[in-house]
Each structure stands twice: as C-alpha cells, then as structure tokens.
C-alpha cells in the first residue's frame, strides 16, 4: 500500500464517529438512488413480464401502436390468417386485450385482461400454481396474490369485463405493484365487448432459424395496416415507457442523493483535514510535496465513498432480498447500469469533496509547526 493511501486509511479509521457519519451518509444517499432505480427497473420487469413470457417471437399491432399498455390496438379478424401466411411464421394466435377492474368479494383490482383462444399455444399464463392453464367459456385465471387478498379460490366467481367468470386457475408472477394479469376465454371477451370481429394483437412464433426482426419486417410488408415488432423490441418499448414516466422522479431523487452524499463527504473530509492541519504542516515542513498531501485527502474522500458505495449496494441487495420474501407485488431489480451510475456519482462526489481541503492544504504554511499548541 502506498504511503499516502496508508495515511488516508489510518486518518479515516482513527476517528470512528467521523468514519461512521461519512460512510453512513454516503451509503444512505447512494442507497436511496440505487433503491429507487431498482424499484423502477422492477416495475418495468413486471410490466413487461407478459410480453417476455408470452412465448411469442413477434407482436402484430394496429398501425402506429408500439406498446401494450396505455394504448388501444384493434385489428380485423382476418389479420391472423394473413400473418400465418407470411414466410417464416410458424404459428399465430390472436389475443384480445383490455385494462379492466376485476372484483371478487370486497376486493377490486386493476388487471390487464387477456382474451385467449381455447387452442392457444402461446400468450397464456406461464406459471399456473393451482388449477388449469386453459380457460373455457365462463372461466378465468387470476393471479394468486389477488385471489389471496380477495379470499377466493378455485371455483369462486370473479366479476370481469362487466360479466362474471369462475376461477379455474391461479397463476404466479403475473402481479405487479399496480395491477395483475387475468386470462379469460377469447369468445367471452369478444361477446362482452359487443361481438365485433376484431382482435387486439396477433402474436406469432417463427420458424426455427428465422430472425424475429426479419419476420417482423416481412409481415409489415405483406400485411397492411399493422405495426410489427419482435418481442424484444416490443418489450424494450414498454420499458422505455416506464423510464420516460419515471425519469423526472428518478432525476430529482438522484440529485437529492448526490447533494446529500456530497455534503456529508465534503464536510467530514474538511473537518478531518482541519483537525490534522498541524500534522499536514509538519509533513510539509519535513519535505512532503503538496501532491502527496493531496493524495492523502483524495484517498480519504475516495475511501469513504468506496466503503459507502459497497455498503449501499449491499444494503439495497439485502432490501431486494427481503422485499422478495414479504409477498408484496414489488420487485427491486438492481441492474449493472444503476450500479455503474452510483459508482460514477461516488467518484464525482469524492473528487468534489476533496477540493476544499486541497485548497486548504495548498495554502498551509509549513511554519505552522513552530506555533505553539497541544499536539500528539
């Protein structure tokens, strides 16, 4: 270990209270930023879980529609057969989709309702923990968390799309913080919405070896009035929707976290330098060049931030682990981008925090050692 880093580390460890405040402040501020990022990433994961787990390679929507949520897509019934006829398409399934409130007992919850053909080989629930994975007329599959909250189980009635359906299956992983996904029969869905010969989306599986983007482009060429995306692109668009909606909140929290961490580190490094002013003066008198002393101060700031960063990542990971075990429909997804972002934040904070003490050291007169006062 270099002499400057050794001194930085010892200076930092010497005053435990100051170390705890410094590292704790950084950890708290960076945790705030990281946890918020993780919450939004978790929400994005949950919102795209249906797209990601539907089994489809390609999504066909009404022209101009690029998202699943917060939009309406209506296609003529005939589009399904047109899609099936395109080279590279192995199978195509029409689905109906709407946001609705489902109710059971006193429990009412927002749900994305999917109307699924009886013979659908994709687009259905991917993890049915109880009952059937297929829905027939008058039947519904709901998320088990909704069923638990509503106090209902298999065979119980649920109000959906203005009618009633009996629970035949309970699925897992289909609930998010704000809604769940429910599956009803395609025919029921169409009947409840007036029987018009339309579908919301056509989801398609492709031939082995075919490229999803290539097939999507081919469908767009061959079928009029549609916008076609691979599942990956469709999912990315959905994530961007969440990111765009949350960008302001995340930016504000990032700024707050940044300022809090910067203030804490700057203050503690400044106070630590002030407290050792005489020692720095002695080092200067002994011949330590300014750059050595700057490295000591920078080392202190960076060590505070590195330890605080590690604590923040550890704490947020622990929080994510704990939340996942509470049964809440909340997911904290810590991604590499967020970790890299707070690492960058930390580096900037350390550099800025060291600036004031460095200025103080630069102007320190080494002859301060000859002024009388208590010293170790």
């Amino acid at each position: 270990m270099s002499a400057s880093l050794l001194l930085a580390r010892r200076n930092l460890a010497r005053n435990r209270a100051r170390l705890v405040v410094s590292v704790g402040g950084v950890a708290l501020a960076l945790s705030l930023t990281l946890a918020l990022d993780a919450i939004y990433a978790g929400v994005a994961n949950q919102l795209t879980s249906y797209i990601d787990r539907s089994g489809a390679d390609v999504w066909v929507a009404q022209a101009g529609v690029r998202n699943l949520h917060m939009v309406a897509s209506w296609l003529p019934d005939s589009v399904t057969d047109e899609v099936r006829a395109v080279d590279g398409v192995a199978e195509a399934t029409p689905i109906l989709y709407s946001t609705d409130t489902i109710a059971a007992g006193d429990e009412r919850a927002v749900a994305y309702v999917i109307g699924l053909p009886a013979d659908a080989r994709m687009g259905g629930p991917w993890d049915v923990v109880e009952g059937s994975a297929r829905v027939g007329r008058g039947e519904i599959i709901v998320d088990r968390d909704f069923a638990r909250k509503a106090g209902v189980s298999l065979g119980d009635p649920v109000t959906v799309l203005g009618g009633e359906a009996r629970i035949v299956g309970l699925s897992d992983g289909t609930a998010s913080l704000v809604n769940s996904v429910a599956f009803v029969s395609f025919d029921d869905f169409r009947a409840m919405r007036g029987g018009a010969p339309v579908v919301s989306f056509v989801i398609a599986g492709i031939e082995p070896g075919a490229s999803p983007d290539g097939v999507a482009a081919e469908i767009e060429r061959r079928v009029s009035g549609v916008t076609v995306q691979s599942s990956a692109s469709f999912s990315d668009g959905e994530r961007r929707l969440v990111t765009d909606m949350s960008a302001d909140v995340i930016s504000i929290m990032n700024i707050i976290g940044f300022v809090v961490a910067l203030t804490v580190v700057a203050l503690t490094v400044y106070v630590a330098t002030l407290a050792r002013r005489r020692e720095y003066g002695a080092l200067k008198a002994l011949g330590a060049p300014n750059r050595f002393l700057y490295r000591v101060v920078l080392g202190q700031a960076f060590l505070s931030v590195v330890v605080g960063f590690a604590a923040a990542v550890g704490f947020t990971a622990l929080l994510a682990f704990a939340v996942a075990r509470t049964g809440l429909a909340l997911e904290l997804a810590i991604n590499a981008g967020s970790v890299a972002k707070i690492a960058l934040f930390g580096s900037i904070i350390a550099a800025l925090a060291a600036m004031l003490p460095i200025r103080q050291i630069a102007s320190l007169d080494p002859a301060v050692v000859f002024r009388r006062g208590a010293a170790p």
């Binding site: 010892r10 003066g281 011949g287 170790p376």
Partner: protein, 268 residues
C-alpha cells in the same frame, strides 16, 4: 580549511511594508561546521523561530543568503525546496508533531518513503534506527501511548531517517521534564559527534547549555553575545571558555570549571 555545513550571511527578515513593517531578524550571520552543536537562545520575540524557519528553507529571507553544503537555499525555486528539506534537513519540534494515526514505525518509515526509499527497505531502516534509539519495544505503538521523552526520540529518529546534513531543533526540551530533556540533548550531541551532523537548537532552556559547542544569544533580531563551550578534562563539566580558567599542554588549550581542576590537571 573547514567546509561549512551551514553558512548564514547577513540575513534579514522583514514582515509587512511601510510603517507597519516589522524586522524579525537583522543582518544575522552564522557559520556551522560539520558535527557542531549550536544553541541559539534569547527571549520570546527575539527572532529565534524566524531564523530557524529561514535556516530550514521554510521561509525566505528578505535579504542576505543561506548556504547549505554550498547550495544557496534562498536561490532555489519553491518546487525544489521540499526535496531539499526531505534530504538535507532533520526537523525536531517542540510539540513533536508526530502523525497521530500512524504507529511509531510508520511515522519514521513514511519520511523515508517520501524520500524515495521503497516500503520494505524504509521499514527496515526505520526499525533499525528506532531500535538503536531504544524504541524497539514501541514500534507498533501509536504516539498517544508514548511518554514525552519517547515521542521526542521518535521525532529524532524521524529527523535522522534520511541522513540529513543539518538537524534543526525548535525548543526540543520544552515539553519534557528536566531529566528526560537532558537525556534527549545528550543523545542529540552524541549523534552530532558520532555521525558528523550539525545541530542547531533554538531554546529558552538554560539547562541544556552544556551540550552545545557554542551558545548564541539572539535579541531584537540580532546576535548580542556568543559563548564557546568547552568540557573540563578533569571533572567533565561543561564550561564557558570566556569565563573559565585555562591551561596549555602540548600546544593545546584546555578549560576548567575551577582552579582546583586546573591544578589537578597540571599536576598530573
């Protein structure tokens, strides 16, 4: 001709300008030989610390020049001074000024590392030096766990680690009791004589006069009096040459604390 370690020539230091200017040191000259111990005494505000700061390249004189081993310090750029201080000077402070977060060994090794000695070699050199100064069992102690005398011995080790030409000590006994203070001064004198290093001490402490080769009295920024010290060859007492009885033998002059010692010497 003796080569001088330190040669201070007609140095003046003035602070401020115009009517508010204060002259702390006026036209001081001083030549220090290798292995010589010079004690500068004087009342508070006499300019002792200012003179010491200039001799240690911590402060530039307003006029005059300071040469160390033939190099004019006042002519060096600011950027070169840290290297000179690190390699040519050893500083000993009244308040010890040890780094409170580092152990005894680290305090000394750090200064060697600053001078370019690699970590392991620096620690080995510091260990040898500290052991030689009786601090072997205290290597891993923090300064706060040491007595005043031990702290000053660590400071001496730190001052010696880079084999300096000149050791500058500012009131080195001020925070020590009489016995320990004298021990520390004898140690400094031994180092000066055995290793040929020059030592300049600034102090109020009259009790340490006997370890010096010369005692200078600084008042109002200039030297008023100079006393050359000698050791009585009979009783070993330190005496001022100017006030002592003397005798010659084989062409060499000896000084005595009393006529009794002189008589005994001449009769032997």
């Amino acid at each position: 001709m003796t080569t001088l370690t330190l040669d201070v020539r007609d140095v003046t230091k003035r602070f401020g300008d115009g009517d508010t200017a204060v002259t702390a040191v006026r036209g001081v000259s001083l030549a220090v030989e290798p292995g010589e111990v010079v004690l500068i005494m004087g009342p508070s505000g006499s300019g002792k610390t200012t003179l010491l700061s200039m001799m240690g390249a911590l402060l530039r004189p307003t006029s005059g020049s300071i040469h160390l081993d033939g190099t004019e310090l006042s002519g060096l750029s600011e950027g070169r001074l840290p290297d000179i201080r690190l390699g040519q000077f050893g500083f000993i402070f009244q308040d010890f000024n040890l780094l409170s977060a580092l152990t005894v060994l680290e305090n000394v090794a750090l200064v060697a590392e600053l001078a370019g000695v690699k970590g392991k070699a620096a620690r080995e050199k510091a260990t040898a030096l500290l052991t030689n100064l009786g601090l072997g069992p205290r290597l891993d102690f923090l300064p706060e766990k040491l007595s005043g005398g031990e702290k000053q011995r660590v400071a001496i080790a730190r001052a010696l680690i880079n084999d300096p030409t000149l050791i500058l000590a500012d009131e080195p006994t001020a925070n020590l009791d009489s016995k320990i203070g004298h021990e520390i001064m004898r140690l400094l004198r031994r180092i000066a004589k055995e290793q040929g290093r020059s030592v300049v001490i600034v102090s109020h402490d009259q009790r340490i006069r006997d370890i010096a080769d010369r005692v200078l009295w600084l008042e109002d920024g200039s030297f008023k009096d100079e006393v050359t010290m000698a050791t009585d060859p009979v009783c070993g007492m330190s005496v001022e040459r100017e006030a002592a009885a003397d005798a010659e033998r084989n062409g060499k002059t000896y000084w005595f604390c009393s006529n009794g010692c002189r008589t005994e010497f001449l009769g032997s």
